[in-house]
Each structure stands twice: as structure tokens, then as C-alpha cells.
């Protein structure tokens, strides 16, 4: 958590976006 907080705003956003992307792909695997 502290590592996440130490990141810059744009890096945090990149991390969230990649996490969401993988979460959606996982969801697509379950739903398809």
C-alpha cells in the first residue's frame, strides 16, 4: 500500500488501468 502511495499520480493511474484491464479480461473468460 505504501509503495502504491509513493507512486506519482500518472503511475498510479497506469497501475489502476492495467489492473482493471486484466480484471475485465478475467471476467470475460468467466462470462463467455
Amino acid at each position: 500500500m505504501s509503495f502504491f502511495k509513493s507512486l506519482s499520480k500518472s503511475r498510479r493511474q497506469d497501475a489502476i488501468v492495467v489492473f482493471l484491464g486484466f480484471a475485465v479480461i478475467t471476467l470475460a473468460k468467466f462470462l463467455a
Binding site: 493511474q13 488501468v17 484491464g21 470475460a28 473468460k29 463467455a32
Partner: protein, 360 residues
Amino acid sequence: MSQNVISQPLEAQQSFARAVVESLPGLLLVCAVALVASFVAPKLEAYPLFKTYLSLKDFILAIIFGIIIRNTVGVPAVFQPGLRYSTIMTKTGIVIMGSSYSLAGLVSVGAQALVFIAVFLFGTALVMMWLCRKVGMSTPLAACLAAGMSVCGVSATIAIAPAVKAKNEDMAYSIAVVLMFGLLALIAFPLIGKMFNLTPEQFGAFAGVGIVNSAQVLAAGFGFSQEAGIVAGIYNIGRVVFLPFVVLMLAIMAAAQEAEQGNEVAKINKWQMIRDKFPLFVLGFLAIVCLNTAGVLSKPEVKMAKHFMEWAFLLGFASIGLTTRLSDLRAAGLNGFLFGFGVAGLKAALALAAVLIFMS
């Protein structure tokens, strides 16, 4: 001490819960605009004007509806917190888009895209710096405009601004010109594409090079066809990958011009600038392309992922429309728009010519 350690995660949880609750009304509004756009778009296709000439797909309608709401009835303060996720939604769509590509497909589209992008991107940046100097613009404003017109209207302008000590007015001017051109391009580009009978690959390249704002590139591409949208997405990724290098080049050019004029110049740390500005989310896109190439995703799963990708874009575009204040676009003034539109129009015409010559 131990009480302090326990209370910190609790506080973090509470502030997260508060942020979620505060964002709900805005997110619901974004969903409502996206749903209306996806409902209205097929109905418009029933009319010959929209079917044959003025193709307004749900992606473009979401932006237009959002802008109309924002600039007529307005958006009350309670909705504002939920409208700040447009970039996250659009970038998530780009990461998911990785499922539409295999490595071989990406190389075949991407290799040509990288050449096109590099030529247009560095060419536009250099021409803009030269042109702005000729018309007597200040160096920081010239650098903002060159970054905005070549790489990406908003993020490149924000990236270059501190390096060239640009004022807020310089940033507002650059962002206003690029966004306004992109808004007109959303309507004009699909029309031009139909007029010249462009294939989805040609149109994707035309939009990817001719329009510079990421969301507008994707909306115009998907507004033409899904295949064109995916090609436009690849061009968009190529452009953002070049962002740190163009910003570095412009910062060095601006510093040289300032030094020539006898002004004080800050030292540029080249490696740090490239590292800080590199868009890491592109690695997420590439990771999903690799998973798809390795056969981890079946055809129905890819189809489902595409469906999610379209909704991520649709929600992002609705959110962008709801946050676009046309009054902000006045920052450039009439002369600014004429100058910016002249250069952007010329770049779009050259992009169209290049696409017709090299991709036929």
C-alpha cells in the same frame, strides 16, 4: 503507537468508501448518457441522411450528448466527482483492446503505423516550432502548441509545460485549439472517409494521424467502423509511446531558443524525462496481446472482451463530453483558432494523401 497503526488503514478505508459514494451520482449520469447514445444511434440509421452521409455512431453521440448537457442545462456539483474517471475508462478500453490482436497482427499494422506516426509526429513538432517562431510566438507557447498538435492535445501539453515554464494561458490555448479541432474532426473525418471510400485500415490510419486527442481518435475510428476503431487505437498507442521523446526534443529546442535570446535555462535530465513520461499502461496492452497470441483467450472470450472494450470507451467518451466546457475553448481566441486549425487542417490533408498513396 499501535492505535495509530490500526487507525491508518481504517481511515484509508473510510476515505475510499466516501470517494465511492461521492462518485456514484456522476457515474450513474455517465451510464445514462452512454445508454441513451447506444439506444439513439441505431434509430438514426433509419434516416438516409445519417445512414449515407452523416454517420453518428454511439461513440460520437455519447460525446455530443455530454457536451450538450454540460453546456445547456449544466451539470450540478453533486455529479462532478463521478466525472473524473474518463481517462481511466478510455485507457482501460485500450488495455482490453489487446485481446483483439495477436503479436503477428500487431507487427503487421504496428510497423507501418510507427513509420507513419514518427514522420508526422516529429515533422509536425518541428514545423510548429519553426512556424511559431516566424509569427513571433513566445517559446513556451510554441512548445505547448507543438506538443499538443503533434502528440496529444492534453497530456503532451501538460507534460511539456513545466519543462518550458509555460503559463496557464499557454496550456489553455494549446488544449483549446486541439480539442476544438478534434470535435469538428469527429463529424468531418467519417464524412471524408466515406467520400474517398477509405477502407477500415486506411480510415484508422487517417484518424490516428490526423486527430491528436486520444479519445477523439478512438471515437472517430469506432464511429467509422469497429475495424477502423481498432486500427486507430494502434496508431493512438504508437503516438503515446513517442510522447516522452517528442517532449524531450521540444524541451531541448525550447531551451536552445531561450539561451539564444539570453534567458536563463534550466538543466534537462534526459533519461529522467523519458522514464517519467513513458506511458506504462501500454505494457498492459502488450501483455494482453501476448496472452491472446499464446491462445489463452478463446474466440467467444475475445468477443466478450470486445463488448467490454466498447463499453469502456462509450463510458469514457460520455464522461469527456460531460466535462467539456465550450467556454474554456474560447482561450485560444479567433486568431488562435485560425492559426491552429490551418496547421491541423494541413496535417489532416497530408495524412489523407499519405494514406491514399501508401496504403492503397
